[in-house]
Every structure is written in structure tokens, then in C-alpha cells.
């Protein structure tokens, strides 16, 4: 079974994630700050209103607010998936910027074989279920 990170050049026609991710992160951060600063609110979760159960994204706005206030533990409690994904994206972006400064053109990519892919898919599915159970247990209505 193979699951590992490798460094290789960008394929012809491959999506250049390293170019867009740092830009998207900065733009999203700015948009979030502006939205909170000007008091804009989201319409609320339709799934929650309908079923009284949280969706996978519930708590995301509160997590973003906590992150902007540098309260990382509260943010993690509000929506672990959001915070961990954002952390991973930030780490990858920082690595990308570091590589650009060093003049390194190789890209970091995850390589798996079929059994590795299967394990990752199952891991992701179980992780999402645990995340959803956490939200259902902890998030106030």
C-alpha cells in the first residue's frame, strides 16, 4: 500500500493549485474580515432549520469569527473540519511561497496506489461522520 508525499514538476495541463491557493486564502480572509466588519450576516443553515440537525458546514461562520479574533481553540470547537482544512491550506500555501522564494519549481503532491486510495476514502468518510457527530453534540442551536 502506498500513501506518501512526493515532489514532481507540474504536468502539462494540470491545475496550478500553488498559484491559486495563496491568492484564494488571502482573498477569503479579507472577504471574511470585511463581512464581519460591516456586520453582514449569512442567512443561516436551511438544513438545520428543516431537521434541527447541523450540516457539515454549521459553525463555520462562528469558527471564522473566532479565528479572526485569534481564538483558535474556540474555532476548532465550532467546526473542526473548517479549521483543519484552513490550517492545511495555510501550511501548503506557506510551503509554496517558501518554494517560490528558493526558486524551487517542483510541486508537493500526494501519491497513492488503489489500496491507499481506498484507505484514504474510508478514512475521509469516517472522519466526516465523527466531525458531524461532534457538531451535533456540541453546537448550540
Amino acid at each position: 500500500m502506498q500513501i506518501r508525499l512526493v515532489r514532481r514538476p507540474l504536468l502539462p495541463g494540470e491545475f496550478d493549485a500553488e498559484k491559486w491557493l495563496p491568492l484564494a486564502l488571502v482573498a477569503s480572509g479579507f472577504a471574511a474580515w470585511a463581512a464581519f466588519h460591516f456586520g453582514l450576516t449569512t442567512p443561516g443553515c436551511g438544513f438545520r432549520r428543516l431537521t434541527d440537525l447541523p450540516c457539515l458546514a454549521c459553525g463555520g461562520t462562528r469558527a471564522a469569527r473566532s479565528l479572526l479574533a485569534a481564538d483558535f481553540l474556540s474555532a476548532l470547537a465550532f467546526n473542526p473540519l473548517f479549521v483543519l482544512s484552513l490550517g492545511l491550506a495555510a501550511l501548503w500555501s506557506a510551503w509554496t511561497v517558501f518554494d517560490r522564494i528558493r526558486g524551487q519549481s517542483l510541486r508537493v503532491r500526494l501519491v497513492t496506489d488503489p489500496s491507499g486510495s481506498r484507505l484514504l476514502r474510508w478514512g475521509l468518510a469516517i472522519g466526516l461522520i465523527i466531525h458531524w457527530m461532534w457538531l451535533a453534540w456540541t453546537l448550540p442551536a
Binding site: Q2, P9, F15, K19, V111, T112
Partner: protein, 277 residues
């Protein structure tokens, strides 16, 4: 040393030289597959590797299929090609829009309808159910919301019907909306000297809007679909018109700013009008 292999813009994995040799002989790998290993400047087809010269025979190269037409909908309408197009546009935009064929607007319009009609039906049913479950319809709860007095008096079925008609009109007029949207985007790109004509901009707008339409109706996913469709639009327009991505970004931001300014002016005008009372 390990060899990285790729086909059609996707990685096949990392293999040893013996595995590649065995794969070429057994037909698992093709001579046209791209390969790279540490120290090489770029990806090279296996046919060009001296180590595999005996195995990468001309016959193997001749058997290798040519690059597929992208997006999948251009190969023909169908269930499989519809989902293939969603994948091509949303997850593989560079290769898709580099290879976007010219002409044939019928296919783009067909794709938009294929994406919009089920989404329209689902949205109508979903929202009708949503209000019915909330008990907002019929009980008059909706009437308490400002401007919703008339809707609050309706039953779920009538409400769903009205929603169907409104959204149905929007769906029927979708290609027309896209003509206007594409025209605005094309005009604002003109100062940069786009390589393609208006037709290519229309095809980009049609495929990008069509691919994101089903996701726009799914609660919570629509928050992700919106920004991502903007990123894909920038990539698609820059590839089709051979423009730097930042030039397209500036143009689209300008367009968004103009639209926001128009809305603000309209709101200001509406606010300055005398009240009917």
C-alpha cells in the same frame, strides 16, 4: 530510481524501472504516457526514454489513443458525459479550456438545459417542502416578514407552483442571460486583446455556469460553489483567450464593481423616491 508516470493530465503513481518495463510489456502503460524522474527538466513520453526503447515500439505509439475531446459533453449528450463535463470543468479546467473546440453553440445550450432543468425542479420542491415543514405557509407566519404578506396566505402547493413558474422562466431565458453575461465579460476583456472571439467567451460562460448550476441549489454547498466558479471563470477565460490570469481577474473585478455600483445607485435612487404613503 523511482519514475513518476502520468496520462491525460492525471498522475498514475510512482513506479520502479522494473515495474515500468513490465507495465509497458503487459500493456498497463503506454509509450505515450508521460514520465519523469529526479534530475530531469520536464515530463517526457516513455517512447523517448532510451531505457524503454525496445518496449516502446512504434506500434505501441500508433495504438495510443489521441487526446480526448474536452469537455465530455462535446463528445455527445448523455448521462455519463454530463457528469464527465462537471468533472472536466470544475476539477480539470486548464486541460478542458485549452482544448475547448470552436463553434456549435447548440451543445452549450443543451448542456445548460441539462444542468438547469433538474436543478430547477429540485429547488422548487425543496423550497416548497422547506416552507411547508416550517409551517410558514397557510398559518400566516410568513406574513410577519416584511414584504411577504401575500406569500404567507398561500398553501405549499400554490407556492411551489408560483416558484416553478418563476424559476422555469429563468431557466428558459438562461441562454439569453448568458449572452448578456458573455457580452459584458467579452467587452471588458477587449482592452487586453483576447485571442478568441465572442463565441469562445459565450462557450466558456455557458459551460462554467452550467457546471455550477446544480451546486448552486444545494444548501451550504452554494457558499463554496460561488467563489470556486469565479476561480474557474478566470482560469477558463485566461486559457481560451491566451491572457494572463491577473488581467482576467482585474477585468472580472471591474465588472463586479460596476454591477455593485449600479445596485448602490439604484438603491440610493429608490431611497430618495417619495413614499407612496
Amino acid at each position: 530510481m523511482e519514475i513518476h508516470l502520468a496520462r491525460d493530465g492525471s498522475s498514475l503513481g510512482v513506479f520502479t524501472e522494473a515495474e515500468v518495463r513490465e507495465g509497458l510489456a503487459g500493456g498497463r502503460f503506454r509509450a505515450s504516457d508521460l514520465a519523469w524522474r529526479q534530475g530531469m527538466p520536464a515530463w517526457t513520453p516513455l517512447a523517448g526514454w532510451p531505457e524503454f526503447a525496445g518496449l516502446a515500439a512504434p506500434a505501441l505509439l500508433a495504438d495510443a489513443p489521441s487526446a480526448p475531446v474536452l469537455p465530455a459533453w462535446e463528445r455527445g449528450a448523455g448521462f455519463r458525459n454530463f457528469f464527465g463535463t462537471l468533472h472536466d470543468v470544475i476539477l480539470n479546467p486548464v486541460a478542458t479550456f485549452d482544448a475547448l473546440p470552436r463553434g456549435n453553440f447548440g451543445k452549450v445550450v443543451g448542456f445548460q438545459y441539462a444542468a438547469a432543468l433538474p436543478a430547477w425542479l429540485c429547488a422548487s420542491v425543496l423550497w416548497a417542502l422547506f416552507f411547508a415543514f416550517l409551517g410558514a405557509l397557510g398559518s400566516g407566519e410568513l406574513s410577519q416578514i416584511e414584504g411577504m404578506e401575500a406569500l404567507g396566505q398561500l398553501g405549499p402547493a400554490v407556492f411551489a407552483g408560483i416558484l416553478c413558474v418563476i424559476l422555469g422562466c429563468a431557466v428558459v431565458l438562461l441562454p439569453l442571460f448568458n449572452v448578456v453575461g458573455a457580452a459584458l465579460q467579452h467587452v471588458i476583456l477587449l482592452p487586453w486583446g483576447p485571442a478568441g472571439g465572442f463565441g469562445q467567451t459565450y462557450r466558456v460562460v455557458g459551460y462554467v455556469q452550467g457546471a455550477f448550476l446544480p451546486f448552486s441549489f444545494i444548501p451550504c454547498l452554494n457558499y463554496l460553489a460561488g467563489p470556486w466558479s469565479l476561480v474557474i471563470s478566470i482560469i477558463a477565460l485566461s486559457r481560451v483567450h491566451r491572457l494572463a490570469w491577473w488581467k482576467v481577474l482585474i477585468s472580472l473585478l471591474l465588472l463586479v464593481c460596476c454591477a455593485l455600483a449600479l445596485v448602490l445607485v439604484a438603491l440610493a435612487l429608490a431611497g430618495s423616491l417619495p413614499s407612496p404613503d
